[in-house]
């Protein structure tokens, strides 16, 4: 019974929490620009508003344009399922492998880029070109940072990694820190955060993620925004629970599960605060300096592996 209940939480946790953390990051950034900023629940209200609006779809668009938001949202949900969020005993070796997680997200980005081109506008095209370039280069750093963990844990299953990393002695923590730095750069790239892409802007020259979804409106825009929030939460959860997995409940008792959820929320809060601090303290890089950043993330993870093997 408890496991069924825990499964329900596992499924609904990602979609429910993700707009919250988007709100929190916006709130902190506003605070840094010493303005009050909207409340942290503003994203929920935006979604409800968008669901209630009519939709304008371009006549050039095909079925890809129409069904892409649902595919994107679906992939984020499946990935959400297989993450070690607050318990590790929900170990599924169906989709638990970290390669599956990365390639499922790539599946979503693939369709997002296609939909960007489908509308036939110049902005969409350029957005998808930049998006695909960055995600292609970020994949190396992403895979290799998680690979360090897989080598240490002798398994590529996420839950198994979380269990074995949590029982790791402190002195062999150096490679984990290095790979976390690599992972953090890849996280910023994949979720379109600051040095790579400014989430708030609509300036044609700089926007990457926004350019692709320019043509959307109404319920489809809502689903895409939600999916973007989910993706951000997934990366935060990965960052939190793979690299610092203490406090995850590994037994079935109610208290352990609740303690797990609270510790998980605290870790997510710390991470989103650090992202917000980073964003307000740094300017967006020129596009052609990004590959060097991504290659550094790849090299850092390779050094981390070098230390272990």
């Amino acid at each position: 019974m408890i496991t069924f209940f825990a499964w329900i939480i596992q499924i609904i946790l990602v979609p429910v929490l993700s707009p919250l953390f988007v709100g929190i990051i916006r709130k902190i950034k506003a605070r840094f620009q010493n303005r009050k900023g909207a409340s942290i629940f503003q994203p929920y209200r935006d979604l409800r508003k968008l669901f209630g609006k009519d939709e304008v779809i371009s006549k050039d668009a095909s079925w890809i344009f129409k069904y892409m938001p649902f595919i994107l949202f679906g992939t984020t949900l499946i990935v959400g399922l297989s993450l070690p969020m607050f318990t590790t005993f929900l170990k599924t070796n169906l989709t638990g492998d970290f390669l599956v997680v990365i390639y499922l997200l790539a599946f979503g980005t693939f369709f997002l880029a296609l939909a960007g081109i489908d509308a036939g506008s110049a902005f969409g095209g350029f957005g998808s070109s930049r998006e695909m370039t960055i995600s292609a280069l970020a994949e190396g750093g992403l895979i290799f940072s998680m690979l360090t963990l897989a080598i240490v844990a002798h398994s590529t299953n996420l839950n198994q990694i979380a269990i074995s990393i949590s029982s790791l002695p402190l002195r062999s923590f150096m490679p984990i820190i290095l790979s976390f730095i690599g992972f953090f750069i890849a996280l910023l790239a994949e979720t379109g955060r600051f040095p790579f892409d400014n989430p708030a802007t609509h300036l044609e020259l700089t926007m990457i993620h926004e350019a692709m979804i320019l043509e959307y409106s109404g319920k489809r825009l809502a689903v895409i925004e939600w999916a973007a929030a989910n993706k951000q939460l997934i990366f935060l959860a990965l960052g939190a629970n793979l690299f610092f997995p203490w406090g995850i409940a590994n037994s079935l008792s109610i208290t352990a599960v609740f303690a797990g959820i609270i510790i998980f929320l605290i870790k997510l809060l710390i991470l989103s605060v650090s992202i917000a601090v980073l964003e307000s303290g740094m300017a967006k890089y020129r596009f052609f300096r990004l590959p060097d950043l991504l290659f550094t993330s790849f090299i850092i993870s390779v050094i981390a592996i070098g230390i272990i093997i």
Binding site: E55, I64, F70, L114, A122, G125, F144, H154, F288
Partner: protein, 679 residues
């Protein structure tokens, strides 16, 4: 039920009838087309039957016919490895023949369909024989017949000089490759005294390590030229686009795999205890080929040339699998070697399937728009919905996206590389790290390249008149593409069962025989001694389907009251013209500039003025963006110039002066007399 040997012979007979028949009906195009393709399909169907019987009912056969020439014996052998490759070849040949029936219609009255049928059947028969030949000399004969048939298929559209050049470059390169192969077999003959693969395998102990290394290098260059690995690939991007699409599907999908077949046959079956550096070299060449293959694909804008470059990339991935197998056998980890070989074989099968699908899609697009340049396509998804859907499935499979077969084999290759990273030897570990790095980047870049191809070809508005009048392709084209896309899904989802049957194939090899399989492979959960990794492809597919349908239903239910209005795309108020859309060059420009060190893009702008001397009012401005082919510049043309210089020098011997000629005789006489006496 017929034994696999009779099936195989019936297949060859059908192909023979097909080739001779289509030549006989040369005069009437339609009859020779139907005749050629039906017999090719029938032949490959029987080939499929034979392979299936051998693979699943363990009906291995080998027989040989005596020949009038002393050292030649026509000996065939179908063990598990040959059966697997016969299976792949006949599967793709069956579907390309069905595709060919519809596709060849647009060549009627333009070219000679009879010779197309003749060489097409000979080409398939050649490939089937190459993978079952058991005598080195017979193998070489059939190998050259396959090259000969594919040469005439490449120059089938002989009105364009470009195709003729592509054809001769192809024939020259493969012939040079065959010279290396001949040398390798001669060296084997020198130490074992026979040309029969069985005899060589049994007396492999006699081969000294030095000859074994030389044979490795020669065979690697020889078969690498046919497989199209990086330094020897220059014929592939020009030869495959020149051939008719159903032939280039066959060439790109299966013909380059015969090189891979011989890699496995020689390095894993015939030559015992391989040294470690073989595996390392194969890993490095594999990673270079995969990375550069995808980069050149990004800079290519002819759709078939792009797909050809992707074949190089996928061959690189297969080589990664093979390289890790060799490295594991050298390090003694035979169980991991089996896993790596399963990854390589699985990717061979998958690549054959989705590459044939992509070439067929490209073929039907070209037959409708009569051009191969992506820049002139656009908006075809509305005019050719089915082809677009099948092409989409093909592109998702090739960029290794989860539910499809590309992901399954790439996942297995990744797992074998990760296992390799944890192996004990220092050099091996770092080569595995390089290989895993290149595979990671290749996956991402391949996805970028196929977003470019699919987006520019099928989505948004059509960029040229031809593209706007395209119509859906005919039935036989759609049927074969449909079957192939179902296969990509089936092989993807049933990856577990395919992997188990492949483990039977890889265990049958000589060097890997009888090693306890520590790595259990059931429905694709791989547990080796210390690494536990598992993925269940059906789980992913089910999850995707359920969750996506649920979200669609919920979202439609929530905003059921809202209306969907169709307007025009927002283009800052200007009328949305096709010029506003992203072009393929624009799309890949950022990646090409990032990797400018390797690709060395050149930009040439020339401006035409109204009147030449005033140079103020330009009439037209053309920008020409190209990437230089560094291989031709730094490796092939210097050798070519050297040969020309030597032959010019040698030509002076025939100076035209009689006295000089008699002087040659006089000098030779004196030299021989002097050397005769001293000796």
């Amino acid at each position: 039920m017929l034994t696999s040997q009779t099936n195989f012979i019936i297949a060859l007979i059908f192909l023979a009838i097909g080739s001779i028949g289509s030549l006989a009906f040369r005069k009437k195009d339609s009859i020779s087309n139907i005749w050629g393709n039906t017999f090719a399909a029938a032949g490959s169907a029987f080939g499929l039957l034979a392979a299936a019987r051998t693979l699943f009912l363990n009906d291995i056969f080998s027989f040989s016919l005596p020949s009038t020439f002393p050292i030649l014996s026509f000996s065939f052998k179908m063990d598990y490895l040959s059966a697997f490759f016969v299976f792949v070849i006949s599967l793709i040949a069956l579907l390309t023949s069905v595709y060919g029936m519809g596709y060849v219609k647009h060549y009627y009255r333009k070219y000679d369909i009879g010779s197309l049928g003749f060489f097409y059947n000979a080409f398939i028969a050649g490939m089937l024989l190459v993978v079952t030949a058991n005598n080195a000399l017979f193998f070489l004969i059939v190998w050259e017949i396959m090259t000969l048939a594919s040469y005439f298929l490449v120059i089938f559209e002989r009105n364009e000089p470009k195709n003729i050049e592509a054809g001769s470059l192809y024939f020259i390169m493969t012939h040079i490759g065959t010279a290396f192969i001949i040398l390798a077999f001669l060296l084997l003959y020198k130490s074992t005294g026979s040309f029969d693969f069985e005899v060589i395998k049994n007396s492999a102990g006699l081969i000294s390590p030095l000859t074994k290394d030389i044979v490795f290098v020669l065979a690697f260059i020889g078969f690498g030229t046919k497989a199209g690995i990086i330094p020897f690939h220059i014929w592939l991007p020009s030869a495959h686009p020149a051939a008719p699409s159903h032939v280039s599907a066959l060439m790109s999908g299966v013909m380059i795999k015969t090189g891979i077949y011989m890699f496995i046959r020689i390095f894993l079956d015939i030559l015992p205890n391989t040294p470690l550096w073989w595996g390392i070299i194969m890993l490095l060449v594999g990673s270079i080929s995969s990375l550069l293959g995808v980069l050149y694909a990004l800079s290519a804008h002819d759709i078939k040339k792009l797909l050809a470059y992707h074949s190089i990339e996928n061959i690189g991935i297969i080589l990664l699998g093979l390289g890790s197998t060799l490295a594991f056998t050298a390090l003694g980890l035979n169980s991991l070697a089996i896993v790596a070989l399963i990854a390589a074989l699985f990717h061979t099968l998958n690549h054959a399937v989705f590459k044939a699908l992509l070439f067929m899609g490209a073929g039907s697009v070209i037959s409708k728009t009569h051009t191969r340049n992506i820049e002139e396509y656009g908006g075809l998804i509305k005019l050719m919905p089915y082809t677009a859907f099948f092409f989409l499935i093909g592109s998702m499979a090739i960029s290794a996206l989860p539910p499809f077969n590309g992901f399954a084999s790439e996942w297995l290759t990744f797992q074998s590389l990760f296992a390799g990273i944890q192996s004990s030897n220092m050099i091996a570990e770092w080569s595995f790290v390089i290989a895993a790095g290149s595979l990671a980047f290749t996956g991402g870049l391949a996805a970028a390249c196929f977003v470019k191809v699919f987006g520019v070809t099928f989505l948004a508005r059509s960029r040229s008149e031809e593209a706007s009048h395209a119509s859906e392709s005919s039935i036989s084209l759609k049927v074969s593409m449909a079957i192939l896309s179902i296969l990509t899904l089936v092989f993807g989802v049933l990856a577990g069962t395919v992997a188990t049957s492949l483990s039977k194939v890889s265990e049958s090899l000589n060097t890997l025989k009888g090693s306890g399989v520590a790595a259990t492979i059931q429905n694709l959960s791989m547990t080796t001694q210390n690494v536990f990794a598992s993925v269940s492809m059906p789980g992913i597919l089910l999850g995707l389907l359920i969750i996506i349908t649920v979200t669609v239903l919920i979202v439609n239910f929530i905003s059921r009251k809202q209306k969907e209005i169709t307007g025009i795309t927002w283009d800052c108020g200007t009328k949305p013209s096709p010029r506003a859309e992203i072009t393929a060059t624009g799309f890949s420009r950022s990646i090409v500039t990032i990797f400018r060190g390797i690709l060395q893009p050149t930009k040439q702008t020339d401006i035409e003025y109204h009147d030449a001397n005033s140079r103020y009012f330009p009439k037209t401005r053309t920008v020409n963006l190209e990437t230089t082919d560094i291989y031709k510049k730094y490796f092939y043309s210097p050798i070519h110039k050297l040969i020309i210089k030597v032959s010019q020098y040698v030509k002076k011997v025939q100076s035209g002066n009689v006295n000089a000629y008699v002087l040659y005789i006089f000098i030779v006489l004196i030299i021989l007399l002097i050397s005769g006496v001293i000796k």
